[in-house]
Symmetry: C2
Subunit: 220 residues, 2 copies
Amino acid sequence: MLQLYDKLLELPLFIGISTDELSDIVGQTKFSFHKLAADKPLVSKEEKCTQLFFLMSGTLRVVSYADSHRYRIEEELSAPAVIQPEHFFGLMQRYTKDFTAQTDCSLLSLDKSEVLRLLDNYLIFRLNLLNCISMQAQRMGRIPWRQQSDDIRQQFVSFLRLRCLTQAGHKVLRIKMEDLAHELHQSRLNISRMLNDLQCEGLLTISRGIITVPQLEKLR
Amino acid sequence: MLQLYDKLLELPLFIGISTDELSDIVGQTKFSFHKLAADKPLVSKEEKCTQLFFLMSGTLRVVSYADSHRYRIEEELSAPAVIQPEHFFGLMQRYTKDFTAQTDCSLLSLDKSEVLRLLDNYLIFRLNLLNCISMQAQRMGRIPWRQQSDDIRQQFVSFLRLRCLTQAGHKVLRIKMEDLAHELHQSRLNISRMLNDLQCEGLLTISRGIITVPQLEKLR
């Protein structure tokens, strides 16, 4: 139980909660516990968000798809993390990405009724959730107004960063060269040159339709 | 007072609240009342969000700026409306647009402490705010994944729609032709042809650096 306390305090939604309140929460809240073996799916794109999942240990593989399904991005999400809290309320209460266990994972989940109870009873939980969703809305709302780079390498880096859940770590972009050229409004030749330059610098590797970036934080 | 009741019920944050709860809210909440004469500013970009403003009657002029300040969009926001509720919590508790009275306006506002009290006491208000901010985060989060059009006219329409607060009504885009060409990754000549075509169809008017769209909903 002590371990659960410490883990919960690392989660963005429980940050700043006092020890007294936390023991109260742990005592009264119906957390469900889940173990997920490597390669087992947690939730899929379009599935309904009926529970709020907290990743307590392990790493999830997250796959995001373009609406046209012409490309997708795979990335890793390590504990502690909350799974798409911005889709728990609002009009689109469905996940927009696939989440699969990369390593063995342990998770906690809360039913909607339990989340509503926590929101009702604990000011800090309520503020943490409001802050968390507001930050998402604010960050995404500023994106259309950002300055566009003239540099094709910067355009590619922005393309990737904008679509990744986290801004660091291992990313795999599965896209055909012509689709990437189309997305960046560049010629196929220019795209191919830019990617080869990045490969020479050791920042990514290219094979048929797969661009692997070992550390997104190094790609600038 | 009866009029205030009816007006509040039209606001997204009070939708679905029962008459009993509403009379409770109106009785116990310290609403501030504001009259704003035409052309007077309400709040400016970068100003801190310390109050939640509700536009109860009249029309505001909203100006949004690109980060580079190379272009801006002016639009109108009519009552009833809430001013940037997604900036009331989170990391960036500042307005990102200028709001000025277009006509004489009347507004209500709530201090942060009053908003926190409403969130604490009224489930529906809490859900409405969570829904409202979640919808913003969801809508903006899907944008990078949308399919890009090859058609320059569609690209221009998407450019405008993506940056407008409302998807209908009168919009003014102030931008130099070369900056628009840069934003859309097109040649100046193609941009100029496309805009002239739209002007011929009566969908917009162009003058030096000013593109006026009388009804965005007609521009497709």
